[in-house]
Amino acid sequence: MSTSSLVAQMKQGLDAPICLTWELTYACNLDCVHCLSSSGKRDPRELTTAEAKSVLDQLRDLQVFYINIGGGEPTIRRDFFEILEYSISQGIGVKFSTNGAFIDAPRAKQLAAMDYLDIQISLDGIDAATNDAVRGAGSYAKAIRAMDNLAAADFGPFKISVVVTRHNVDQLDQFKALADSYGAQLRVTRLRPSGRGADSWHDLHPTNAQQRQIYNWLMAHGDNVLTGDSFFHLNALGDPLPGLNMCGAGRVVCLIDPIGDVYACPFVIHDEFKAGSVREDGGFAKVWRESPLFLELREPQSAGACASCGHFDACQGGCMAAKFFTGLPLDGPDPECVSGEGAAALAAVTAVPVPMMDHSRRPVTNGAQSVSLMPSRASR
């Protein structure tokens, strides 16, 4: 079977996801301006330890090989290590994303002693000025200290995860050098206008010239750098980047959020892309296999307004989440379409979707209902 027919099969969905992201909590010590889940405060409805373990039992039965744990800041949960150890004991490997604030020397040693565990530390600038402008004051120092602790504990090759923005795109070589200096692996991913990213995207997303810069850099380094296949919209610039070149949402990828809701991908926390809940009868497996949303996403997708463009086969129309949260139709160009179609489409947008949830600790400014128990802005 050729790679293209394999991709065709994968678009019809797999029996279980390859890449499942599970955000354990909306609680976070940071307040990053591009947080895709608008995290900050814990949600009182979050899954209990027992519920989390029963989800893991089901993932084990589905033979999900590994899960990507995130948040919020997952290490904030008091049962974080219990969940981690239970997952690994069930034969499910874990990669967790963290800002590193709680990885002190003893915790680093504890983590280094575990098998089937990968750690991904978020860093969005090669210096404190660039990083902290996005991730908050002091976050650079905390991330570096976590890396030092992991290295001192002999954890092995952890990952450094960078969201590429207008302000750090010139630092890609330095990020690679930093990763190399730790024996770590660099991961770079695309900025999405999701969560608080909806507010910051216009100021942070790479310019059209920078997109070519990213493409060229990935073509030169792609085999040694992880991308989560997130830059496939750049394939219209030339030869395809390494990876599957397809949107995996609901087909090979999905998200379980802290309250057990299942979404098509980590970047679409919105009712439009909610497939169900692990708390329903049949649990996660039933949602994955039978939810009308996921079945629809596994049908052939229309090229819509992009049908007449010669690059559609290469870019696949780009990212569903990027289109949705910038107010663009899903069957049209990506807002960062390298042919410039996105910029024209954005100019015609009159309304963008209202976020369904916001757990930010700061006052809500975008009209969304906060689920927090704090007094609302109006009543203060």
């Binding site: 099969q9 029996d15 033979q63 090989f65 590994y66 490997g93």
Partner: protein, 98 residues
């Protein structure tokens, strides 16, 4: 033609090898064949045909690859493509040699 002949000659030595799935590898059936995941090196590999899955699942000592192919009823005419697939799985350490 020369290049592919070189490959098939190199892979011929595979037929006499005794192979098995690496103990850290899990196979998950899928409509196209199976996914194989190596828990040590974190590699994920697609087995793109159900017959490859059958053969890989049947590998166990002391049988050689040729004996397993025969046992699985794979026609010798198809052996070269299986040798290529098995060589690739050996290269990614999904299989190991005894």
């Amino acid at each position: 033609m020369l290049a592919s002949e070189d490959i098939s000659t190199a892979n011929d030595s595979l037929l006499t090898k005794v192979l098995s799935l690496h103990p850290q590898v899990a196979l998950r059936p899928e409509p196209f064949g199976a996914l194989a995941y190596h828990f040590d090196n974190r590699r994920l590999v697609f087995l793109k045909h159900p017959d490859v899955v059958t053969v890989v699942s049947a590998l166990h000592p002391p049988l050689t690859l040729a004996e397993v192919l025969t046992q699985c009823g794979i026609s010798p005419r198809r052996w070269p493509s299986f040798q290529t697939a098995i060589a690739s799985l050996l290269g990614s350490e999904m299989l190991h040699e005894h």
